[in-house]
Point group: C2
């Protein structure tokens, strides 16, 4: 691996790595809700302010620790200006972009594989969805918590299943369907789950 870390102090790399190691331990042992930035900083032997400086917030630190392809902050920055009626398509485009890059696809598949085979990983993913994604999506959609949770988990179920069918089972012609075709087929499903009539 080549390292190009010009302009940083020599100690930075190891402090960042120490924080990520401490974060992985804390999330693994106490779950997303139970882990605190203060305890992670103490374990890494750094000031909590440095954790915030490097990783912004607990959700983005989690994303970095488990190598999520995109931090929640990045995702929501992309979704924030989108019209409510176009969110289904915007979310699908975001997900398809993650899957199109082999490195971020591998990270996404790793997360899904561990969550389907390991109870602790499943709990972590559930915690993250519950305490970050549903919360922020609820704000974007102007929904109360229970409604947002139901709608977001339905949309999430379609996204997880699509990723598995396309990239794990590689069901044809779904696996090699062009982006535009998938968007026509699946974006209306996500849009209906998020804002449509479900009863």
């Amino acid at each position: 691996m080549t390292r190009r870390r010009t302009g940083r102090r020599p100690g930075d790399h190891s402090a960042r790595e120490d924080i990520l190691d401490a974060a992985r331990r804390a999330f693994g042992e106490r779950g997303f809700a139970g882990a605190t930035l203060r305890a992670i900083a103490a374990d890494a032997g750094v000031d909590p302010a440095l954790v915030l400086h490097y990783y912004g917030n607990k959700a983005d630190l989690f994303a970095a620790a488990v190598r999520l392809p995109l931090t929640p902050s990045e995702s929501f920055a992309f979704l924030e200006p989108v019209d409510r009626d176009d969110l289904g398509e915007a979310i699908l485009r975001l997900v398809l972009a993650i899957w199109e890059n082999p490195a971020t696809l591998a990270a996404w598949l790793g997360l899904i594989r561990s969550a389907t085979t390991d109870d602790d990983a499943a709990r972590l993913l559930r915690d993250l969805v519950t305490s970050v994604i549903i919360d922020r999506m609820g704000e974007l959609l102007h929904l109360d918590d229970a409604d947002a949770a139901y709608r977001v988990s339905l949309a999430g179920s379609q996204i997880v299943g699509l990723g598995i069918a396309r990239h794990v089972l590689r069901l044809e012609p779904l696996a090699s369907a062009p982006t535009t075709e998938l968007i026509s087929a699946v974006a209306p499903t996500l849009q209906r789950y998020l804002t449509g009539v479900l009863q």
Copy 2:
């Protein structure tokens, strides 16, 4: 385990088990398409007619060998009389019934877990979907093969994702949503994938 196998000859149990063992080896080594009933019978040391007598056809033998909750024949016997416009709901009810029984849920989850973590299991599941399910669904829906394959894999992606969200990640309130609520939310998705406008 208690055995209640009255009225059968003493040799039956072991012949059935020998066939299943041979089938698991054959499917594992050669995939669903490559395995033949003749080779499985030879490996088990029985006549091919006995394999057909016990398991009906290759797809149902596969279902028995990997302990699928329902054989393809049983599923299609249930779906055959259903009106084309009600297939989304009928398929979802079939799947929800599989998930409601702890034993068949465990078999379903086992299949999904192995397919998401093991390339051979993924290939087997893909083969089965391609050579049995898509074929029969195409007949039910009066679609040509390519269109049936696309529509069935889209519906399959939603079903796989729903099962994972509900029973592996246990996202609430989706995980404890009553059947009627789930049918209102998800059956229209399946119906649109199977018979609706996708472009």
